[in-house]
């Protein structure tokens, strides 16, 4: 298994320090933590809201592609998850 396969088989979840929430007034998903907030753009929000610690990244990508009637999202999703991991937003 190579690194990409490992990631595709992983089941990430939102890190416990953060709370993911839809904000009606801001019309976006946000990550809340002590005294702070990360505003997520559209695609980041759609990825984060699907993380439940049980679904694999592979399934997550398939779901996104189905929900948005598109293909070829793997590269973008993996790139985002790498950033999210560096920021501490996700547990893998």
């Amino acid at each position: 298994m190579n690194d990409v396969d490992d990631i595709l088989n992983s089941t990430p979840s939102v890190a416990s320090m953060f709370r993911l929430q839809w904000e009606e007034v801001q019309q976006c998903w946000v990550l809340l933590y002590p005294e702070g907030m990360v505003k997520l753009n559209g695609s980041a929000g759609e990825i984060m809201r699907r993380l439940n610690g049980e679904k694999t990244v592979h399934t997550l990508i398939a779901d996104l592609e189905a929900d948005f009637g598109t293909t070829g999202l793997q590269a973008d999703v993996l790139a985002f998850l790498e950033i999210a991991g560096q920021q501490g937003w996700v547990n893998t």
Binding site: M17, R19, Q21, E23, E24, V25, Q26, V30, L32, Y33, P34, E35, G36, M37
Partner: protein, 377 residues
Amino acid sequence: MPTTPTVGPPLWLLAEITYSCPLHCVFCYNPIDYTQSGAELSTEEWFKVLRDARAAGSVQCGFSGGEPLVREDLELLVAEAHRLGFYTNLLTSGIGFTPERAKALKEAGLDHVQLSFQDSTRELNDFLSHTKTFALKQRAAELIQSNGWPMVLNCVIHRLNIDYIDKIIELAVDLGAEYLELANSQYYSWAQLNRDGLMPSKEQLERAERVTNEYRAKLGDKLKIFFVVPDYYETRPKKCMNGWGNIFLTITPDGSALPCHTAKLIKHLEFPNVKTSSVKEIWYESHAFNHYRGDAWMKEPCVSCPEKEKDLGGCRCQALMLTGDAANADPVCDKSAHHHLVQEAVAFAQVPDAQRVKVQPLVFRDPINSRKLSAKV
């Protein structure tokens, strides 16, 4: 006629629910005339503030004061804020933080407790001497951990404790902190009164930064340390509160709505009150909140400065306190005609204590001093 710039929602609600406090910190930012404040808002009045603010888009809610644990309805306020979907923060000294209250607050849905330490009773070295103050902080820290809250500690740094920054960091590690904010005192209210006694020398600051970096290297991810430098040592001011009436909404114990803790000292502005205005009216329509938004209010050197969007001319309160006009550039900026006032304060901070001829005694924050000093205002 300058147009009102569009502004986003009041994302951060600071609920200062009481000015009562068992401590007497010399660096307190509560107004010196806090004893002249009107009657505290009732539980129901705070519920309305929370509901209004949430509907307007507030999402972070800080419960502060004074000491918020003094209010017996704190759990009710937290529960309501939680029910509304706020992320709730308790900013406390830990005094009054019993196992029963911690449990109740956890059940009410409190998300985070920020514990201050090295706050002062009348014994400034009380904490470092491991007296009962430390035992109290230890108990509070244990309650924070056992209730599953992140361990966030805040320590105000000033001339009298900056040389012990290594001990402070080690105490934070002992208490199990995950985050430590070393906040160099800003000079507002009681801290401004006591400024000469609180401002560290450049040498002290540089040493403290060095020590902090050594600990950062040693501790790695075990403890995240934030070190906030006093703005008097900069040549450009801070973007205060991220902009006047931009993100932060402070509601004081008597319901006054302010863009920051100390804005009431800007006497020519009449600040609205939540008893008579809704949060949306306050935020979007009030004269006071609109007054320093945008740049139409700016004077030189701010108005034609290429950096004005970066810091918006700094802090209005500081401009007023030091230059007499809230619309002036914050004199921390070296473009300000009044920058010498900051330089003079900094120069005095370099004078060793032993060489200071006239030493103003520290004024401790308490109701007697507040009333005495309010009479002069």
